[in-house]
């Protein structure tokens, strides 16, 4: 178990280094004038002296390899640099935004998977019309873009019924609509996977055995079928968690929330290299950790997965 954990962590570090390198070169090799971008883009009207100052201060007059090594060196010392555009340390900026995105993503995961468990467990292998209806609902839920869901929820519950505020700054209830917006596509996908799995498992001989032993329908579903159906669902859940961060951009914009997604999108548009790299490294670390955690949950759910390695 320990050896396995160490192995996964080591691989994680390699992935982190790869991410840092890839993002560094992709963003630096894209054509453009970083100095003008730092100064505000096409609206900037700097003097030649200011342009020279920016190029020297950020090392743009150095060869790219030199810039890369310098950057890696600082990274090893835990120095993520200062944002080009926001003029504040990257770590401070990320720390200020991380909580908001994490809270939102976790609530969305909880709500999405809770909804999926409930719907899938109660509806798998029931009347044909219900199956047809759910198939449609799953497709709609997982394919409607979040900005449309978000806007529709706002129109209905915020602007018409005045039940929830539209902006994150107006009280704790403001997290409900964005959570629902993010959770719906998660639920859509998860219901689909979990229901298919359950339907397949409910046909298996061991289920029939369980039924002949006189177990109730609820007992069969919760006690026997669910455990088997969870493994592929967990895999999907891991992937969904990653995509949540990108969907968060849209939700953060529509609902006026702070967050990493929006900061990442602004930073990319503005070519704010230190900030983009900082966020990329953070997101990669989270993904590595999430995958390690899910791996270990596999073992808990189905101890055979460890022996099979």
């Amino acid at each position: 178990m320990t050896r396995r954990l160490l192995g996964r962590l080591g691989a994680g570090l390699v992935v982190l280094w790869g991410t840092a390198t890839l993002v560094f070169f992709v963003i630096n090799l894209t054509p453009g004038d970083p100095a003008i971008t730092i100064l505000g883009g096409p609206d900037a009207l700097p003097t030649p002296a200011v342009l020279r100052q920016v190029r020297a201060e950020y090392g743009f007059d150095q060869p790219l390899w030199g810039q890369y090594l310098h950057y890696l060196g600082r990274l090893l010392h835990g120095d993520f640099g200062v944002s080009y555009r926001l003029h504040q340390p990257v770590l401070k900026l990320i720390a200020g935004q991380f909580g908001a995105t994490a809270t939102l993503a976790l609530w969305a995961m909880v709500l999405g998977s809770g909804l999926a468990l409930l719907v899938a467990l109660t509806t798998a292998k029931r009347a044909r019309w219900l199956t047809e209806l759910l198939t449609w609902a799953e497709v709609v839920l997982s394919s409607v873009p979040s900005f449309i869901t978000g806007l529709l929820l706002l129109l209905a519950f915020s602007f018409s019924l005045h039940l929830f505020p539209s902006s994150s700054t107006h009280g704790w209830t403001s997290i409900i609509l964005p959570t629902v917006t993010l959770a719906l596509p998660v639920a859509g996908v998860l219901i689909q996977v979990l229901r298919r799995e359950l339907e397949e498992i409910l046909e298996q001989p061991f289920i029939i055995t369980a039924r002949t032993r006189g177990l109730s329908e609820t007992g069969v579903r919760l006690g026997h079928a669910l455990r088997h159906a969870l493994i592929p669902t967990l895999t999907i859940l891991g992937v969904m968690f990653t995509t949540l961060l990108s969907t968060a951009v849209v939700v953060e914009t529509v609902f006026n929330r702070q967050g990493l997604g929006r900061m990442m999108s602004d930073a990319t548009t503005n070519r704010d290299v230190p900030l983009v790299l900082g966020i990329a490294l953070l997101v990669t670390s989270i993904n590595i950790l999430a995958n390690i955690v899910i791996d270990f949950i596999y073992v808990v759910v189905d101890p055979r997965t460890e022996r099979h390695e």
Binding site: L39, P46, L93, L155, S158, F159, T169
Partner: protein, 555 residues
């Protein structure tokens, strides 16, 4: 190439959304009021104003920014040496008076002696000196303020409240730019002791003090009770009326409109153009639409050094083929005013007589294309010459929200046989092309300033963008006659001479057609009917917040 119908559907869809929310009767909120720069009667103190804003500017040191929102954020936190009067002429603010030497190179300012910054520092000649040095210091990395005072050579503290600025050469826009928020006076104590903190904790002498700034989320300000030095032109006495200002960044256009209409906010600084008619029709809201000074919106800046736009006839014909009214309608949903001049009408020394010759005239456009030799037509209906199709690529940013405008122009030009192709690029790549001059045309944008010197910034030969210097002359125009006119205008302070020089410059630009001015640059704001006392900045036509008060009875 981008499809026209996709964008139109997007626009129509959003408009339908607004229309469905409330009945839209009013057609075009194009009544453009003048005046409104002066407080008429004192308001009632107290209360908090909740404001929604489209974009966060990321940091708050005006000397280190070129962002548009600095115009009104600056007025909340800071004061300037001078303020324009209602005719666009510099008038007193922190400087009570000034004397300009006959050669136009020395300005001696006599300063107010009762002004303090919110950190306790005193406003005096030393403070002015420290501010001007901060604006131009390369370490400040100023994208605008430093350039606006580029002719400033040195400053001298004559006595505690007398400051003398010496310029390298006469520079008539000097006082105008000193009235702009990017050149506001910051606390000399903060500049000297902790310049890095200016980005997130700016300290000024303005009517409000920053309470908190949360990137992407919002910012709040509290009233400074001992404030008593509003610019005399505003007519305001004493402290601001509101206790607090709460600004929140609401980037989504439709959310911005609906959250205002539902009363979640009292005020928005950015009414989405597609929602202006709905806001106008709403009895509970007041919508105002004002035209800004400077260069109006140019959907296209021609690169006059590359074919096909190195041919004046092609430039003129292309300009004449654009249906300005139609384009303005598409861009502003009836909110933007079409204009065919290189200066906005509100700008000092605007010359109305120069305007008419770029009016929509497809017949004349066809005649000019014929004259330039583009006589043949290919199977798609485009003109050609010696087997070469008449057309050009326009480089735009891939995030540009005015793509529907370009698509409309594309279809106007198609009617006269010109093939305009859109090349949507990431902004970095666009800047690269801009520096290198590797483009046929670009989206021209606006240049918003409070002086007709905007023409120098946009069209003088020394302002061509490149690797070594920033620049706004994306037309890459270098016309000796125009250069001379604009240089002479910088060198004189004589109003008669300025009027004549700027009139000639406007006429010359109409002759040269380096770009196509299409519609004005507008400030469209809206607020609940309980919000009173809204006045506008004479430099930027943006709202002032120290005169606003809440009439709770009317809420």
């Amino acid at each position: 190439m981008l499809s026209r119908s996709t964008f139109l559907r997007g626009g129509v869809g959003l408009t339908a959304l607004f229309a469905s929310a409330r009945p839209v009767l009013a057609d075009a909120p194009l009544d453009l009021p003048v005046g409104g720069h002066r407080e008429i009667s004192p308001g009632r103190p107290g209360g908090t104003l909740r404001v929604s804003v489209a974009t966060d500017i990321g940091s708050l040191d005006p000397h280190a920014l070129s962002a548009t929102n600095v115009q009104w954020i600056g007025r909340i936190l800071f004061d300037n040496l001078v303020y324009l009067d209602e005719q666009g002429i510099p008038s007193p603010w922190l400087a009570k008076s000034w004397i300009i030497s006959p050669d136009g190179k020395t300005y001696t300012f006599s300063l107010r002696d009762d002004v303090t910054f919110s950190d306790g520092a005193k406003f005096n000649a030393e403070a002015v000196l420290i501010n001007l040095e901060h604006m131009r210091a390369p370490a400040t990395k100023s994208p605008l303020a430093g350039t606006y005072i580029q002719p400033y050579a040195s400053g001298r503290v004559v006595d505690e409240f007398t400051f003398e600025a010496t310029l390298r050469a006469a520079y008539s826009p000097f006082l105008n730019v000193l009235a702009q928020s990017w050149l506001a006076m910051e606390s000399p104590k903060t500049i000297t002791e902790c310049p890095a903190s200016l980005a997130y904790h700016p300290v000024g002498s303005g009517p409000f003090i920053l309470e908190s700034y949360k990137p992407q989320l919002g910012m709040s300000f509290i009233r400074r009770p001992d404030y008593n030095w509003s610019a005399p032109v505003t007519g305001h006495q004493g402290a601001a009326y509101l206790d607090r200002l709460e600004f929140e960044f609401v980037p989504d256009a439709s959310v911005r409109y609906f959250s205002l209409a539902s009363g979640e906010y009292d005020f928005t600084t950015d009414v989405p153009a597609q929602a202006a008619a709905a806001a106008q029709a709403d009895q509970a809201l007041t919508l105002t639409n004002r035209v800004r000074m400077g260069c109006p919106n140019r959907a296209i800046a021609f690169n006059v050094t590359k074919p096909p736009f190195d041919d004046l006839r092609v430039r003129r014909a292309t300009a004449l083929a654009m249906d300005r009214d139609g384009v303005a309608e598409i861009a502003g949903f009836g909110t933007y005013r079409p204009i065919a001049n290189f200066l906005s009408e509100t700008t000092q020394y605007y010359d109305a007589s120069a305007a008419s010759s770029l009016a929509y005239d497809p017949d004349e456009a066809n005649r000019l294309f014929d004259e330039a030799g583009w006589i043949g037509r290919d199977a798609d209906g485009y003109r050609n010459r010696n087997g070469e199709r008449l057309g050009a690529k326009i480089a735009i940013t891939s995030t540009l929200s005015s793509i529907p405008v370009i698509v409309e122009i594309q279809s106007d030009l198609r009617r006269v046989g010109f093939d305009l192709q859109l090349e949507a690029l990431p902004s970095g790549q666009l800047l690269q092309q801009r520096n290198a001059g590797q483009y046929q045309a670009m989206s021209g944008g606006v240049w918003h300033t409070n002086t007709p010197d905007a023409l120098y910034i946009n069209y003088h030969g020394s302002q061509i963008p490149g690797w070594k210097q920033g620049g706004q002359n994306t037309s890459r125009l270098n016309d000796p006659q125009l250069n001379t006119l604009l240089e002479q205008a910088r060198e004189t302070n004589d109003t008669g001479a300025l009027r004549s020089l700027y009139a000639q410059a406007q006429t010359r630009l109409i002759e040269l057609v380096p770009a196509v001015p299409l519609y004005d640059n507008h400030t469209v704001i809206a607020y609940g009917s309980h919000v009173r006392g809204v006045i506008y900045d004479t430099s930027h036509e943006t709202p002032h917040f120290e005169t606003i008060w809440l009439d709770e009875g009317a809420a």
